[in-house]
Amino acid sequence: MGEFSSLACVTRLIKLIHKYGAPKRFYELAGTLVPWLAALTAVLMVVGLYLGLFWAPRDYQQGNAYRIMFVHVPNAWMSMMAYVAMAVFAAAGYIWNMRLADILAKVTAPLGASFTLTALVTGSLWGKPMWGTYWVWDARLTSELILFFLYVGYMALQASIDDARRAAHASAILAIVGAVNIPIIHYSVYWWHTLHQPASLTLTNQPKIYISMLIPLILMSLAFTLFYVTMLCVRARSEILWRERNADWVRKLVGSRT
């Protein structure tokens, strides 16, 4: 359900991209948006962290250790979202030959990979007080790990092809195949996990979530989503400058600053 609404969001975004399709226009638009996005991200992040760390009550079972959830859960959520976004951007670039969508897909990959890595690291840090060890083959952690490998493969393929268009199209096919596979991988891993460890605790399986925990969690999720959008704009801008380095407008822009 959540995935469907996020899919709708992304398709709306695609329509916007069509409107601001020319890399040059996107560069300018993103340039004006970035400061606002960054400010909003910072505010949400500070408020969310404050509420999460000081306002939300101690958990009666886990004490304060559970508070890493306010970073772990948004990152785990964003790692999936970023993959969906990447696959949709890549597919749009492949089907309609949209260069901006190619660029957005390419710069999403490292962002998604870092969300995944953060989710893995915070997950294993959270695991230490819960399980007494940094790594347990928990279903969520295992599928995050496989997701991380998928990101790494995507970036490796991008990096090993010189021609920008071929790199974009080849990795688009990989991203689409990956997107079809992710639900299958996800449910296989969950099934595998329940079969082998039926009684163990999973990370986010809280006995009861209080509204005072839920509010910071939602704020942090919003903050990380906005962080993604901000970084997407920043990275896409530099990628555009690099790709269009021979175009007149970039030369003028660079010339005017030196």
Binding site: N97, D162, D163, A164, R165, R243, N246
Partner: protein, 214 residues
């Protein structure tokens, strides 16, 4: 100019982030051949590959029998024979196996051209028919690739440097082969640095469509 059987309008192609040529248009009617000319690195191979549907052009339209090539799909590729830099010869199969399998994989029953033996005869490889293709010389491999043109019997020939590694007599016999193809109502697009004699062939300067570079 009326639209030919094969028509190209406003074609642009890129390699990497560089535009090779833009706004290219050409027409080809049955019995016509075009000799695409220009110095190295201009994008002649890229043009040929785009024209026979192997690569997607950045912009522009290619039309065959009035329909867009991108919509026709296999209906178009089924009528094009392409000989590129690579011969498309499987070295572990014999010369005649190569041709026989090509005729079964690449033609519909109604469109089959010459038999494998007759085609080998025509390019002077009759004696090499049962040898594994990897034992053939460069020139012989090239002739085997050209023999495939006869087996497939397709109306549009797209030939990228077809005369490479061929000796003088082979060049002459290939030119006459193309001549026969044109006389039978066929079309041909040829890129070649080597001189060859083919009456009725038009020159096409690719440089007209390339930006002047500093």
């Amino acid at each position: 100019m009326s639209e030919g059987l094969f028509a190209v309008r406003g074609l642009s192609c890129m390699r990497g982030d560089k535009t090779l040529f833009a706004g290219l248009s050409l027409d080809l009617a049955p019995g016509e051949a075009l000799h695409v000319r220009g110095p190295n690195g201009l994008g002649k191979t890229t043009l040929l590959r785009a024209l026979c549907g192997l690569s997607r052009p950045m912009r522009g339209e290619i039309r065959w029998r009035g329909g867009k090539v991108s919509d026709l799909g296999e209906e178009f590729t089924a009528e094009v024979a392409y000989v590129g830099h690579l011969n498309g010869i499987q070295g572990d199969l014999t010369a005649s196996e190569n041709l026989r399998l090509a005729s079964r994989i690449f033609t519909r029953r109604k469109q089959q051209g010459l038999g494998a033996d007759a085609a080998l005869e025509r390019v002077g490889l009759r004696a090499q028919a049962e040898r594994p293709a990897r034992h053939l010389s460069q020139g012989q491999k090239r002739r085997l690739a050209l023999a495939r043109l006869l087996v497939l019997r397709r109306p549009l020939w797209v030939l990228d440097e077809p005369f490479t590694a061929l000796d003088v007599t082979s060049v002459a016999s290939l030119s006459s082969l193309i001549g026969e193809h044109m006389a039978g109502g066929g079309l041909a697009l040829i890129v070649s640095h080597q001189a060859f004699d083919l009456p009725g062939i038009r020159d096409f300067e690719l440089a007209h469509y390339c930006k002047v570079r500093k």
